[in-house]
Symmetry: C2
């Protein structure tokens, strides 16, 4: 007899009523009296449990009554409607087979645990309500991203993870090496000899796939990357992880306007897809994690995102500067309090802020005609702040080279990036979405460690 999946039963119960079926899964709870008992069974396919009723007529009634939480069982029985009760249906068990008994010291008992404790059992936490919801939503959001881009003809590019070039020009990076650190080879002047290393030179983990994505956008017109990126920053905040996934689309024959339209369409698409495909999980988050979540997300889907320039934003903020801790001054970066004021107080919806001063943005962003600002855009979202950062790229070789010289950048490793400007380097633009930030936004979870299956942060590489 094949296993019927609990998701299929919930989505289409009529198909199964009053017939004998077999289900298998893990015991979430058992309550038993002398004559009968109830099992809440979760089979992994669905957020909700299926109720199993079993009676003393079962041969192994006593054993089943005392089953430790998380034991794996196989149940044969009849699905019956249960009107006027909490759950819509239940299975009247004819047979309960103990498949893999759990140990009674199972650390995830019914009582509430802190998220911090659950991080220490990251191999078990997806079995809890909260984390089963988080990681199913994460999976659906990832798929929504692929679906969005593929349906629009974008080519998915796997940009390299190990790299010798530093896309941001400033990120703290992890070194990748096979040198024996107990005995590193040395050059004549006593330095570490990286020519003896695996790649023949100093290599690092990527901080962004953007530069390589640009090369592909100038071939395929519309591309995206979606892969892990790394920061070796020793910062222990709720919003920073050492390893996280990033989505980076790049489009050619397109400027900042098209870039923002793409970002807006993508955000709305992801939210809609997750709300449609994980209604039970979203309801759970709305109830227990972040009241008002669904309303906030629906507001995003249904609103036109605001677009203002950095200079306009500064004017708004200046009028209210006594409300802020940090100074409001043209040329300075927006602080979290400024971003929040714009999204939560002024516009009450997502806001694109564009045309930032060049000195607070990356070297590859396109210089505007005012020679002071660049064609950058950040998307600020109510409640979370910056969620997307993008720009039109500097396609003019001379302007780009001048900027790199100003910043005293070593352009040796970037010869190929400069060459893209020589051979039909038409205007192009792109952005980066921190995937975990998006998942936090979708679920209301407020610590990045709780939306990554096995998070990596300073001093933490467990599992």
């Amino acid at each position: 007899m094949t296993n019927t999946l609990i998701k299929d039963i919930y989505r289409n119960p009529d198909k199964y009523y009053d017939t004998e079926i077999q289900v298998s899964g893990w015991v979430r709870t058992v309550r038993a009296s002398k004559k009968f008992g109830f099992i809440e069974l979760n089979d992994g396919t669905f957020f909700k449990n299926l109720q199993i009723v079993f009676e003393e007529t079962l041969e192994n009634f006593k054993e089943i009554s005392k089953l430790p939480v998380s034991s794996a069982i196989i149940v044969k029985g009849i699905l019956v409607e249960t009107p006027n009760t909490k759950q819509p249906f239940e299975i009247k068990a004819k047979e309960v087979i103990l498949d893999a008994e759990s140990n009674s010291d199972y650390p995830l008992q019914k009582k509430r645990h802190t998220f911090e404790y659950l991080r220490s059992i990251a191999h078990l936490r997806p079995r809890s309500n909260t984390f089963s919801a988080v990681f199913r939503v994460r999976s659906l959001a990832a798929y929504a991203i692929h679906k969005f881009f593929q349906e629009r003809g974008f080519v998915y590019v796997h940009t390299p993870i190990i790299t010798a070039s530093d896309a941001e020009g400033a990120g703290e990076m992890f070194r990748v090496t096979t040198l024996d650190l107990e005995n590193t080879p040395k050059t004549d002047d006593g330095k570490v000899d990286y020519s003896k290393d695996f790649f023949g030179k100093d290599a690092n983990l990527t901080v962004s796939g953007q530069l390589e994505a640009e090369a592909y956008a100038l071939a395929f017109r519309k591309v995206y990357t979606f892969g892990p990126t790394f920061r070796a920053e020793n910062s222990n905040t709720k919003r920073h992880a050492s390893e996280f996934w990033m989505v980076e689309p790049e489009i050619a024959f397109a400027g900042l306007k098209e870039d923002m339209e793409l970002a807006e369409d993508m955000m709305k698409y992801i939210i809609k897809y997750v709300m449609e495909n994980a209604p039970e999980e979203m309801e759970f988050f709305n109830k227990f994690i972040d009241k008002g979540l669904i309303e906030r997300l629906e507001n995003i889907v249904n609103s036109d995102f605001e677009r203002i320039t950095y200079t306009e934003a500064m004017k708004i903020l200046e009028k209210n500067k006594n409300k802020f801790e940090y100074p409001v001054e043209w040329g300075a970066d927006l602080q979290t309090e400024h971003e929040k004021y714009l999204t939560d107080k002024v516009f009450k919806k997502p806001v694109f802020v564009t045309d930032y001063p060049k000195d607070i943005k990356a070297f590859y962003m396109r210089l505007n005609d005012d020679n002071k600002t660049v064609a950058a855009m950040d998307l600020l979202a109510p409640g979370v702040g910056e969620i997307i950062g993008g720009s039109q790229r500097e396609e003019r070789l001379d302007v780009l080279e001048r900027r790199m010289k100003e910043l005293e950048m070593n352009d040796e490793d970037l010869w190929w990036y400069l060459e893209l400007r020589k051979y039909g380097g038409t205007k192009h633009a792109g952005f980066g979405l921190g995937f975990e930030r998006a998942v936090m936004y979708l679920t209301g979870m407020d610590n990045i460690r709780d939306v990554i299956p096995f998070p990596r942060t300073p001093k933490n590489v467990e599992f």
Copy 2:
């Protein structure tokens, strides 16, 4: 005027005939006489070019006639049918705007280049016919994998890239560190002090996400990973790269039989999806890269994969042992020549070989009742050999611990993996598909460096 995409024109030309449209793209070739000329224009959205006819009446006729290859242009004109010619239609240009002129030293001129040379210009090679086909197919294959698993309710898990545990127990790994190698901190006994390193211990790049995927399969029942994996092997072959992507599904309440069914369904799904969505590219490969490719792929889609045990395979091979260079002996691993004989001579279709001797397989594979073999399966494909490796996992804690002791494995880092067996660790199984091997198989390309956008191999970390 918005740009019409060349893909849309090819897929639905009737919509555009005899109307004025605008296209933009890169010049692949220009041929011009004194009175008129032809441009082959590629806009990145489609494998084929669009022909542009331009006449001397154009203001910039001379300039356009001499346009360097790869220049970006914008063309306004009328799409007209061209019966009795090679191409089905062309655009009669009313205006050709030079958007970004290419330099005349563009390295990818029309003449044929070796794949080896093209690797040295990996930032430009996706503009060539072969590599635009390869990387579009790669993108479609990746999406097909997501689509296959998501449609079947699998949860996509991002398993960690940086890890302290070694899944295979034997892989050569890259170290990830932020220690200053010019001046490494030392412990009292003079060794490198990894407690001072970023993660507080020795950390590496993952060789597989399987062990972590198992944890998630025991929560979500059906999961898959799809991410980069790494091998620090100093081997320069056509089939090995230092960085490559792997797909690893894992299913609970399932054994080797279900595992093989899943692998077979997945392979057929990917092939079908790519053939349906990249017919022009597949025709190109079939003509210029690997004659017989389409027939071979169709044969796979339409055949039931063979299933034989290792012991049966050995019997077949023994009967023909004088045909092989390597000895045929129960207990030894199958060599490429053996695999090829089974797939290409004996069965002429993909073959699952199951139940290998335990000593040539990994520690986590489930021991069979004969105590000599494990519930492993390799999928061998005609022409390429092993493409998938999988197994049922050892779910019995005592058997697993005994096996790890036999192999003198350090089980400290794997405490959580062992714990999975204590808390409802029902039977489960999974496999790994090397994504690049699959792309090679789909395209007929015979060097792994030519199916990775920016390949990493010993001494090569360019771009």
